[in-house]
Symmetry: C2
Subunit: 315 residues, 2 copies
């Protein structure tokens, strides 16, 4: 996830780097939200993700919230596979400008997120550095089959676990000195969808799943690429998050941009066969159907005034 | 591990930060080389450590070697517990100055180290950043009891798994344009002592163990602090690594400094009861006895010309 635009082509670089390493024999290897590794008969989910002060801590976000977020990005990747978090490690790179209190605030925020997700901080290290927190979350599949990005089939329905756009609204509110506490909370204290991920994986009906940490557009395109399919999302179906409309009015940032093109969103995007919708209701997960998987190769946004192609990585 | 001196008090900061998080219920929590976590009946060893281009890549070290080292620091922490590595994740923070080729070289070096240690790269991420690689290694205890830093008992013998000082000699050789390939290899392609760690843990006689990634002096002091004991190391017993004598002569850096006060050393330091030395021979591990555990609280270096206290973190 990231909140600042940049011309760094992360996807191309990762693809190239993955070509120089040995293919790995694990049930799920590099290239998904998490890896799934079998160790001594246990199926583990492992996710590593980093945040930096420069790119991921807008002014107004506290260090405690930044710490929460550094943990949440990793637990969210466990959630999207359907894993249950157990442990978190953190490697901190601390700049001269940061005092011990700020470091403790970061750790405390991360620990609170770990507690919320049912996990503990198991270790890590602290070094002089430019202001980064690299987290690794480890969880368990507990016998469930992991949900991955591949497996969406044309005709499947596309759904999300909750409303969209509030983190973006929170960001733009903060940048403009506007008071929208719900949106700011959505940005600064994101909630990894652990319970939802476990319930979805337990249902056995999900054909693909990903979290929205790089935004809905990128998530949709990633499922399309991994599943060799297309996706049509219906603009009017997208559940609009708290304060999106008001912040859009006050800042001029479009609602669509907030709902589709902003990282730092932690709902799950998933696909399933139409015929299984009963099981999805039985799972107890709140969801909103927002589109369908197509036999094309594009992810598209369908609106009353026309159809547009979604694009990767505006953020 | 680190190779550059600095006034950053990492130990004090980590201690303070560990006070703000919940105590964790794992067999081994934060504060040792690795954590040991039980997940679905499997006992996992998990270690996170980071390296930065600025502090850990001297001029003359290739990016491939830097990648190897970024993996080795983590596998070495698995080794010191007696774990068998299974997987590695890497989070890279890439500065503008680094091209895709360098990133691939780092990944390739890390993968070669993983292969050497019997593990695979399972995932990670790549972001714009200041030039850091945060690794997390996951291994298995396979039923062995983990070796920790606590447990050294007065009267125990102190041993290392191999010669000391070559990485420091390699560093000073490189800095002075001297050609000492063995020492430079020891610095740039460090060998995590996986086989030795597994054999030592299997023997069941080790009372404490730590790797030397922060240097022998810091390792000895850490065992003393964790075990509430002291340690006397005999200068004349210390096994001198390749090129240490020659580089010392040519650069004026003392041999003692190279053997005691330089990070980037990957032998294991461990303690055991005198009466168990037969089992240690049976384990097949090469070792050199270098001292004894005392009932004091200091770690000391005993030489013909007197006794000196060891000090933390000169590097």
């Amino acid at each position: 996830m990231s909140m600042c635009p940049g011309d760094f082509d992360e996807r191309a670089l990762i693809k190239r780097a993955l070509n120089v390493i040995r293919p790995c024999p694990f049930p799920v290897g590099p290239g998904d939200d998490s890896a799934v590794v079998e160790v001594d008969g246990a199926f583990l989910v492992i996710a590593s993700d980093s945040v930096t002060l420069e790119r991921h801590k807008p002014e107004g976000m506290t260090f405690e919230q930044f710490g929460w977020m550094s943990a949440a990005v990793n637990f969210s990747d466990i959630a999207s596979m359907g894993g249950r978090p157990a442990a978190l490690t953190l490697s901190l790179g601390i700049p001269d400008s940061l005092g011990a209190q700020e470091v403790c605030d970061i750790m405390s925020g991360a620990d609170q997120c770990a507690e919320f997700c049912g996990a503990y901080i198991a270790g890590g290290d602290t070094k002089p550095g430019s202001g980064f927190v690299c987290g690794t979350a480890i969880g368990s599949m507990e016998g469930r089959k992991p949900m991955t990005r591949r497996g969406a089939v044309p005709g499947d329905l596309v759904a999300v676990t909750g409303p969209l756009g509030s983190p973006a609204a929170g960001y733009h509110a903060m940048m403009n000195g506007l008071i929208f506490p719900d949106a700011v909370d959505a940005l600064c204290i994101p909630v990894p969808r652990i319970r939802e991920g476990i319930a979805l994986a337990s249902s056995g009906i999900v054909t693909s799943c990903i979290d929205l940490s790089d935004g809905l557009a990128t998530a949709a395109l990633t499922i399309c690429e991994s599943s060799h399919a297309g996706m049509d999302l219906m603009l009017e179906f997208l559940p609009k998050g708290a304060d999106v409309e008001d912040v859009s009015e006050e800042t001029g940032v479009s609602e669509i941009d907030m709902m589709l093109n902003f990282g730092g969103e932690y709902e799950l995007l998933f696909t399933f066969g139409k015929e299984d919708i009963g099981s999805l209701y039985d799972s107890g997960v709140n969801f909103t159907i927002i589109g369908t998987v197509t036999s094309g190769r594009e992810a598209r946004l369908v609106a009353d005034d026309g159809v547009r192609r979604l694009e990767y990585g505006r953020y």
